[in-house]
């Protein structure tokens, strides 16, 4: 327990200590690659009966749990080839010495069992501190749901999130979070959703014209997006609870890129209702819109500082090529953040300290450079480049835990949604069907 407390503490300190001198690889505190040694975690397959139903659901559970822990970015997961021959299914079967010694040399052990009985799926799972022989149990959990594949995934997500919460500095895991995005696979661009790992992709809107820029409300009940309605770009609202569009006032001109404040009270968006495109803030019913910017050239893509809701970052073309700016949420104190190139699509990190955005640093006619994802520390304007794989990378969006960034990339030829750790590592493709763009990670 002492050891666990020490690890817990060091993780908290590491994620909190923003002012400390940065290690060279990752001076920006994205919660990963902090120079702290990652916890070596052993995750043997959960035990189950030999009947086909049990085996099938256990397989789904095991794959999902493994992937969730792997994706979390805070563990060094021990390869299964190093594991002892018999995996424990219950605490009585655990021999800590086998796991603590090389080759596994694990710091933590995740184990348990999966049982399918009378149409219900029961899972018992434990997290053990391998080096604490006196009282090794960190977590012990039981789950019971109807026996089906979705629930096997769901239970794995929940258990993974418990482990990540306990070992990851008290930050809730994201295994149950969702990503909203734009897909053209139905023919027109529509809003879709998927689980954070790319599973369960579902179409939400059926506008038939064009729907872009989805942004989920903080409570996950609604999606605001911009769509062509009656040959005009309007902010449209879709209720995920009612499964239908709900009304939102129409404004004159072109209305684009809605963004929720994290307290769920305000929507920032771009509107040319007064002629030129500017940033406006209205309440979530669309009432009392007030203009924050007043400059020639496009002003689009606002994002709130979700920590305070007192600042907004956005994109402005007031000096020519688009650049990232920040301002107070009343429109004062405008600060230009990027100094060159073509910078768009800002997304403010959950801890309020970082902006992720897409940047072509050397841009100009005849020189179509690659658009890459960057992260900038708002206070110091220091930045780090996260993608280097060529192609156009755009629309970064932070995961609720601030450890991941999803984005769109055409590096494979077609535009698809990818996710990566916030230090740029572990990039993986989440979509394959059609062309997919503009991901927006749910608030929780």
């Amino acid at each position: 327990m002492k050891r666990f407390a020490a690890i817990f503490l060091s993780a908290v300190i590491a994620s909190a200590a923003f002012g400390a001198p940065p290690p060279p690889q990752d001076w920006i505190r994205t919660g990963t690659g902090l120079g702290v040694e990652k916890i070596r975690l052993a995750v043997p397959d959960f035990k189950t009966a030999t009947d086909p139903d049990s085996k099938k659901l256990a397989a789904t559970f095991n794959v999902t749990l493994w992937n969730d822990l792997q994706a979390a970015g805070i563990f060094d997961i021990v390869s299964q080839s190093f594991y002892p021959l018999s995996a424990p299914g219950v605490p009585q079967e655990v021999r800590l010495g086998e796991w603590a010694a090389p080759p596994p040399n694990a710091g933590m052990l995740v184990f348990g069992n999966v049982a399918v009985q009378g149409g219900s799926l029961a899972v018992q799972g434990w997290l053990y501190d391998v080096k604490n022989a006196q009282s090794p149990q960190v977590l012990g959990k039981q789950y019971r749901e109807d026996a089906n594949d979705d629930n096997a995934r769901l239970i794995a997500h929940r258990f993974a999130d418990e482990i990540i919460f306990r070992l990851g500095g008290g930050i809730p895991g994201i295994a149950e979070s969702r990503i909203y995005f734009v897909s053209s696979r139905s023919g027109a661009k529509e809003i879709w959703q998927m689980d954070y790992d790319g599973a369960n992709q579902k179409q939400i809107t059926h506008l038939g014209t064009m729907a872009l820029s989805p942004h989920a409300s903080p409570d996950g009940s609604r999606i605001a997006f911009s769509g062509v309605s009656n040959v005009e770009w309007q902010i449209l609202m879709y209720s995920l609870e009612l499964n239908r569009a709900v009304s939102f006032p129409r404004f004159q001109g072109t209305n684009l890129s809605p963004a929720w404040s994290s307290d769920g009270k305000w929507l920032a968006f771009s509107s040319s209702r007064a002629g030129d495109s500017e940033i406006y803030v209205a309440d979530v019913m669309g009432s009392n819109p007030r203009r924050l910017t007043n400059s020639k050239g496009p002003d689009v893509s606002p994002t709130w500082n979700p920590k305070t809701n007192a600042q907004i970052a956005w994109v402005s073309g007031r000096t020519g090529l688009p650049q990232i700016y920040t301002m107070e949420s009343d429109g004062t104190n405008v600060v230009r953040m990027t100094d060159q190139g073509y910078a768009v699509s800002p997304s403010w990190s959950p801890n309020g300290q970082l902006l992720a955005f897409a940047w072509v640093r050397h841009y100009g006619p005849g020189a179509p450079g690659a658009s890459d994802i960057y992260v900038m520390d708002v206070a110091s304007k220091q930045w780090v480049q996260l993608t280097h794989d060529g192609g156009r990378n755009d629309f970064p969006t932070w995961s609720p835990d601030g450890r991941h960034i999803a984005f769109q990339s055409n590096r494979t030829g077609k535009t698809q949604i990818w996710s990566m750790l916030a230090d740029g590592s572990q990039a993986r493709q989440l979509t394959t069907a059609g062309q997919n763009s503009q991901p927006n990670w749910s608030f929780k």
Partner: protein, 251 residues
Amino acid sequence: MGGTKLKLRRIQWIQVVLAVSVVLAVTACAKKKPPAPPPAPPPSPAPTAMLTANPNAIVAGQASTLTWRTDFATDVSIDGIGKVDPSGSMKVTPSDSTTYRLVAKNDTGSKEATARVTVTPAPPPPVTSSTPSESDAQLFSQNVKDVFFEYDSSEITAQYHSVLQANARFLQQHPNITFVIEGHCDERGSTEYNLALGDERANAAKQVLVQQGVSGGRIRTISYGKEKPFCTESTEECWQQNRRAHFVYGK
């Protein structure tokens, strides 16, 4: 015995062949004979014929009028139509370009006249159901020209300012026409920024027209950013084509 029978048969065959060839020869000779002189001593003059089509170029679905006149003809016909009066006119609505051939005959001889009607395919029907007059839509597309933009700019250059002035002159002469200005961008850059940029391009074009006296109430604008490119190659030529304010009749 058998030999004699065979010979006999051969002879019979030869006789048949001969008989047939004689008949053929006789008829051939008969054909070569000059026509018998007409019984009536005063020979009628050769026929004359004239055929015109007005207009001689139409859009599919429209009609053209054929007009013809013949003299001295006893038998007048037009290919594809049949026998007609010696002089007259009729409307035709060919779906493809057609050459009409009129043949006027009498005892003395015959005379031909032709007229060609060129048919261009009909333009697709306008999307709106408000039945706008076709000529307005045609005139609009002939007279109102798109304007193009520099990279990352919504500024109307001098060249396109005069294009817009010409557009405005036409639009003032046709005050009933309403239209949409679509703003478009090239594929480079980001979706949201390009939608805002396209919006500015459409509005910039609209403002010039309004300054020139075209009522703003006749104009709608919409941006398509880089969502509906005219040209999909990644070349400067293509990008130039896509950086435009595009004029669409109606709506």
